[in-house]
C-alpha cells in the first residue's frame, strides 16, 4: 500500500453547482504539494470536502488516505485518523482556552479509559509555542477570540504541530499575513516537514512558496488540475499570471 493521500476523479457540488470537476491528485507522505489557482477555481472547496464539511456533496470520485476510503468517515473520524486542515477562516470558540481545546482534541485520540498526561502535554505545548514564537499567555486565551489575523494562523499551525497528523491541508494559510507573520508561520511549517507528514498547500499567491518550498506545484482552474510541475512552475505563474493556464485548458472554461 502506498503511503499517500490519493484523490481520484473527484466531483463535488454545493447547492446543485459543480465546483470540483474531475480532480485527481496524489500527495505522498513526506512531500509538500502546492495547489495554486485563481479565485473561484475550487481550491477551498477541495480543502473543505477533504475534511468532510457537511455542506458539500461528493457526486463522484474517490479519496483514499493510505489506502483507506476517507469519504466514508465523519469529519471527526478523518481528523482522528490523521487528517488535519488549517482553516482559512478559523472559528472562534468563546470561553474555551487553547490549552483546553487542544487537550480535548488530543484526549479524543486516546483509547477509552486512558487519560492524557498533563505534565507531558504542557511540556510539549510550550515547546511548540516557542517554535512558533508564541507567548505562553496565549494558552489561556479563548480559541481565536479577538485574535489578529497572524495570531489565528499561528494558532492553526500550533494545532497542526500538537496533533501530529499524517496529512495536513493548509488552506490559504498566507492570507492576511504581513511578511514577518508569514515568515514565522512558514518557519513553523518547515520545522514540521518530514517523512511522516504529507502537506497540501493551497494558495493564491506565489509569495508563500518562497518560504515553504514545495516539492510539486499544481495549477487548479475551474475545478480540476490543469498543470503540474516542480517548484519552478510557481515562478512561471508569478510572471505570467493565470490566464495562460486557462488557455491550455479550454474545456475547463465551458461552464
Amino acid at each position: 500500500m502506498k503511503k499517500e493521500l490519493t484523490i481520484e476523479n473527484l466531483h463535488v457540488e454545493i447547492a446543485g453547482r459543480e465546483i470540483v470537476r474531475g480532480l485527481s491528485l496524489s500527495v505522498p507522505q513526506g512531500e509538500v504539494h502546492a495547489i495554486m489557482g485563481p479565485n473561484g477555481s475550487g481550491k477551498s472547496t477541495l480543502a473543505k470536502v477533504l475534511a468532510g464539511h457537511p455542506d458539500y456533496t461528493v457526486i463522484a470520485g474517490k479519496v483514499l488516505m493510505d489506502g483507506e476510503n476517507l469519504l466514508d468517515l465523519a469529519p471527526d473520524e478523518r481528523a482522528r485518523q490523521g487528517l488535519f486542515m488549517a482553516f482559512q477562516y478559523p472559528s472562534e470558540i468563546p470561553g474555551v482556552t487553547i490549552a483546553n481545546f487542544l487537550r480535548a482534541a488530543l484526549q479524543s485520540r486516546l483509547p477509552e479509559g486512558e487519560e492524557l498526561e498533563a505534565t507531558d502535554y504542557y511540556a510539549k505545548l510550550y515547546e511548540k509555542m516557542e517554535l512558533l514564537g508564541m507567548d505562553r499567555s496565549f494558552t489561556s486565551r479563548s480559541v481565536n477570540e479577538g485574535f489578529s489575523g497572524g495570531e489565528k494562523k499561528r494558532a492553526e499551525i500550533l494545532q497542526l504541530a500538537m496533533l501530529e497528523p499524517r496529512y495536513a491541508i493548509l488552506d490559504e494559510t498566507d492570507s492576511g499575513l504581513d511578511i514577518d507573520a508569514l515568515k514565522t508561520v512558514a518557519h513553523g511549517v518547515n520545522s514540521l516537514r518530514g517523512p511522516g507528514l504529507g502537506i497540501l498547500l493551497i494558495t493564491h499567491y506565489q509569495r508563500l512558496l518562497n518560504y515553504i518550498v514545495p516539492d510539486h506545484v499544481h495549477v487548479m482552474v475551474a475545478g480540476r488540475i490543469v498543470r503540474s510541475g516542480r517548484k519552478e512552475l510557481a515562478l512561471e505563474l508569478e510572471e505570467r499570471g493565470y490566464d495562460w493556464t486557462r488557455e491550455e485548458a479550454p474545456e475547463a472554461l465551458l461552464r
Binding site: R80, I93, F101
Partner: protein
Amino acid sequence: MKTETDTKAVDIDRNKGDFHYKVEYAKDAGYGLSDKTVHFIADVKEDPDWVREFRLRGLKIFLEKPLPTHWASKDLEAIDFDKIRYYLGPGTQAKRSWDEVPEDIKRTFERLGIPEQERKFLAGVEAQFDSEAVYSNIKKAVGEQGVIFVGSTEGLKQHPEIFRKWFGKVIPIADNKFSALNSAVFSGGSFIYVPPGVKVKHPLQAYFRINAESFGQFERTLIIADEGSEVTYMEGCTAPKFNTATLHSAVVELVAMKGAKLQYITVQNWSSNVFNLVTKRGLAHEDAEIKWIDCNIGSRLTMKYPGVIMKGRKARGEVLSIALANDGQHQDTGAKMIHAADETTSNIISKSISIGKGRATYRGLVHVPKHLKHCKNNTECDALLINATSRTDTYPAITVRGTGNAVQHEASVSQVSAEQIFYMQQRGLSEAQAMSLSVNGFVNDLVRQFPMEYSVELKRLIELEMEGSVG
C-alpha cells in the same frame, strides 16, 4: 460513526438519577389535598399548634389563589393536584449514622455518591428521601462551634426561639400559590443556624431525592447566619423518570444578619417529568452578603427566581444562574433584587442554554425606590441557542428611581454555528463533544466562581445533556 471516544463520553453514567427502588412507606397521606391531608401531616409530625394553624392558613390561601397563568406558562394547568401524594414518610426520625439508615434507602444515596462526598469535602449532610430526612449529620468540630444543622421539623421543635422569629417572614405564606402550598404541606428541608462570628469552612449539603411516583416534595429550608458569620449551603436534587408528573415545590428562606455572608448553591438534575416550582429569597441586613448560585438542569418546567431583599445599608445581593433547557423542557428562571437601603449593591448574571425545542426564559426584577442613594445593580443575561428550533425569551423589569443610583443591563443571544462545530470536529472531537465544549465555554466564566467540586459536577452534567441531545 460509533467510535471509541463516543462510547467513552457515554460511559459517564448518563442518567445517574434515573433509577428507583420499591420502598415501603409507614406513613402515606394518600392522593389529593384537603384539610384532612394537612391534619394527617401535622399528626404524623406531631406539630405544635402554631405550626398546624400555619399549615391550615397555607391551605386556605392555596385554594383561593389562581394559578399564575396570566403571566406564566399554561403548562402549569397540566398539574393535577388531586393525583399527587403529598406525604410519604418512614415514620421514623432522621439517623445520625448511615449504618442506621434502612438498607433500601441507603443504597439510593450510596448510588448517588452522597456518603462518599460527605467524607471528602462536606461539613455536614442531610439526605431527604421523598418527604422526610433519613439521614442528618454534622461534623463534630462544626457542631462544637454551635452550628445547628437539622431538619425543619426538628428545628421548629428544638429551637423555636430562633425558628419562629424568621419562619415565613422572608417569604410570607401568601407570596404566591406555591409558597402557600408549601406552607400547607411542608416536610423536610433544613434548618441551619450559624452563631455570630463562626465561619463554617466547608459546605453543608442537603440532597433531595424523589423516589415515589405521582409524588410532591415540599421541603422547607430556613438558614440564619448570625452577625459576622459565614456559611455555604449546597443542595442537590434528582428523581427517576416516571410517566406521571412529579411536583417539587420548596420554600427556602435565608437570613444574613449584620456582616454575615451566606452562599446557597443549587445543582438540580431533575428528570423531565418534574414540575419544579420553587420560591427562594434572602434577607440581607447591614453589610451582609447573600449569594445564590443556581444551576437548573432537567425538569419539565422550572419556575424559580431567587431573590435578595437588601434591608440594611451596604448589603449585597447576588444571583449567578445557569439554566439548560433540553428538548421538551422549559426553564423559566431569573432573579429578584429588592433594594431597601442606601448603598446596597446587587449583581445578576444569568446564562441559559436552549437545546432542540427547549425553551429558556429569563425574568428579572430589580427595584430601587426613589428615596435611596448610591445603590447599584448590574444585570447580565446571555442566552445560547444550540438549534434553530431552540427558544429564549428575556423579561427584565428594572425600576430604578431617585438620583445617584446606578444600573447597568446587558443581554446577548448567540448561537452555536455549524462552522464552529465543524471546526472542532476537524480537530477530532465528536459532534456531542464539540457541542458540550461550546456550552462549557459559554458558561465558563461563571462556573469559575463556583466551588471546585460543583463546577466539576456541573461540567459533567452538561456533557451528559449534550451527549443525549445529539442524534
